[in-house]
């Protein structure tokens, strides 16, 4: 079967994904996780039939626009496809200059950049950073549009090619190429009284930090629950900042839960135990609430199911599964 793309026609080999085929043919397609989570390899179908799996997890609006995940697309017939960017209003390439780097937790650091030519974004969207050698990885924006610097939170992965580069090699004052913004894990304006429920694991807290502050900035009145989960207490961060916000806003409740606490490091208000048990206690009625789930993809998917089954509408469950990149 054949793929038409950028005025060229390619043959796909049996079992090959559209992404693999295009890369083999020498086309440059940004990609990272190859498991359908990061959405960096999003393309748009103009003609032909897409396999279901290639649109799994996309919002109805994106599906309707013909967007699909090229890494998950093993078509049964020929396709005519195009870049997704013209369908995603606002995404484009821009430059980021590193201004500041500091650690927020033993394995999580914060980067602050000055942006040049960056399109308008909403807190909670994500961008892709590109290393000079072309390697690209997506990170959520933790800052708000009216703040001077773009803030990203990065988990240091042992031997991670991008996180290692960002931690040790990129110098203050140096510039990176970036692309975006993308994603719809954002605060929805105009629903000031809706309940919000935010669950984050690890650097999944970055987009939630932006969503939370977007809501507070416009005077959100409905109850807001923020729940940060981690394996052990040293994986948690932003604790002081969250406590401070909760003290200033009556409608905000912030809690933390860790699976285990072998060194007895957990703060007094941190629950040691099962995340799902705690959730059932905190959110007896998610119907009508807007739910934000960010972090480890397996956990995000389990949480989606849990919230859906207990009554949240699918359109009200927003999530960013953070899938690790496949090393190639």
């Amino acid at each position: 079967m054949q793929i038409r793309f950028r005025d060229r026609t390619f043959d796909l080999e049996a079992g090959e994904s559209v992404l693999e085929g295009l890369l083999r043919a020498g086309e440059k397609i940004s990609n990272s996780c190859r498991s359908g989570a990061c959405q960096s390899c999003l393309l748009r179908c103009l003609e032909g039939e897409l396999p279901k799996a290639s649109q799994a997890g996309l919002r109805p609006r994106a599906r309707a626009a013909g967007l699909f995940l090229s890494c998950q697309c093993r078509p049964q017939g020929s396709l005519s496809i195009a870049d997704a960017s013209d369908a995603l209003a606002g995404a484009s390439r821009f430059q980021l200059e590193l201004v500041e780097r500091d650690f927020l937790a033993p394995s999580i650091f914060r980067l602050r950049f000055k942006a040049t030519g960056m399109p308008a974004f909403l807190g909670g969207q994500f961008i892709a950073l590109e290393k000079p050698d072309g390697l690209a990885r997506s990170y959520s924006i933790a800052s708000l549009a009216n703040e001077d610097l773009i803030e990203l939170h990065v988990r240091q992965i042992p031997d991670g090619r991008m996180s290692g580069f960002l931690a040790d090699e990129l110098n203050i004052g140096e510039t990176l190429q970036a692309e975006g913004p993308r994603g719809d894990c954002t605060y929805e304006a105009g629903k000031l009284d809706q309940g919000l429920f935010l669950v984050g694991v690890g650097t999944g807290m970055a987009p939630l930090w932006a969503v939370l502050r977007s809501a507070l900035a416009v005077g959100h009145r409905g109850p807001i629950n923020v729940l940060q989960a981690g394996l052990t207490p040293d994986r948690l961060y932003l604790l002081e900042e969250l406590r401070e916000l909760a003290a200033r806003h009556d409608n905000l409740t912030s809690s933390t839960v860790v699976k285990e606490d072998p060194k007895s490091l957990a703060a007094e208000d941190c629950v040691v135990g099962d995340l799902f048990e705690l959730l059932r206690k905190l959110a007896p009625e998610p119907r009508g609430q807007r739910i934000f789930l960010c972090g480890d993809p397996n956990l995000v998917n389990q949480l989606r199911r849990e919230f859906f089954l207990s009554g949240a509408a699918l359109d009200d469950i927003l999530g960013d599964p953070f899938a690790p990149a496949v090393e190639t």
């Binding site: 279901k52 799996a53 649109q55 799994a56 997890g57 996309l58 109805p60 989606r304 199911r305 859906f308 089954l309 009554g311 509408a313 699918l314 359109d315």
Partner: protein, 123 residues
């Protein structure tokens, strides 16, 4: 004549009903396994298209091959009893959303008409 679809409240109401229907199936251990690894959004979109047709709404769903669409489920051991359960959950969903018993019976009849295709006994 007003179709059940219009009476029901159109597309938005049907989205909510489909989600509730799907929720009931996932909570029911006797059928939940058939949906364990299925993409939730895609599955709900399909169920909704099916319900739109069953309620006499605008039929713009052309991919509705009930026989082929259930072949994999038959391989996983789907039996007539599972179809009964699905029809029961749909009925209860519609009743819980204020649809009359009479209209629910009409929908159940339409679903019965598809049973043989679903079970692979008819094309």
């Amino acid at each position: 004549m007003t179709t059940l679809f219009e009476k029901f409240g159109g597309d938005d109401a049907l989205q909510a009903a489909t989600e509730e229907f799907y929720r009931r199936m996932l909570r029911d251990e006797s059928v939940a396994n058939f949906f364990a690894d299925v993409d939730m959004e895609g599955q709900i979109a399909k169920q909704k298209a099916f319900l739109t047709v069953a309620l006499g709404g605008p039929n713009n769903y052309t991919g509705l091959d009930m026989n082929k669409g259930h072949a994999a489920l038959r391989d996983q051991g789907m039996k007539d009893a599972h179809v009964d359960t699905v029809i029961k959950h749909l009925g209860e969903t519609l009743l819980s959303l204020g649809i009359s018993q009479e209209d629910v019976d009409t929908v159940a009849e339409r679903m019965e008409g598809l049973r043989d295709q679903v079970m692979g006994r008819a094309e």
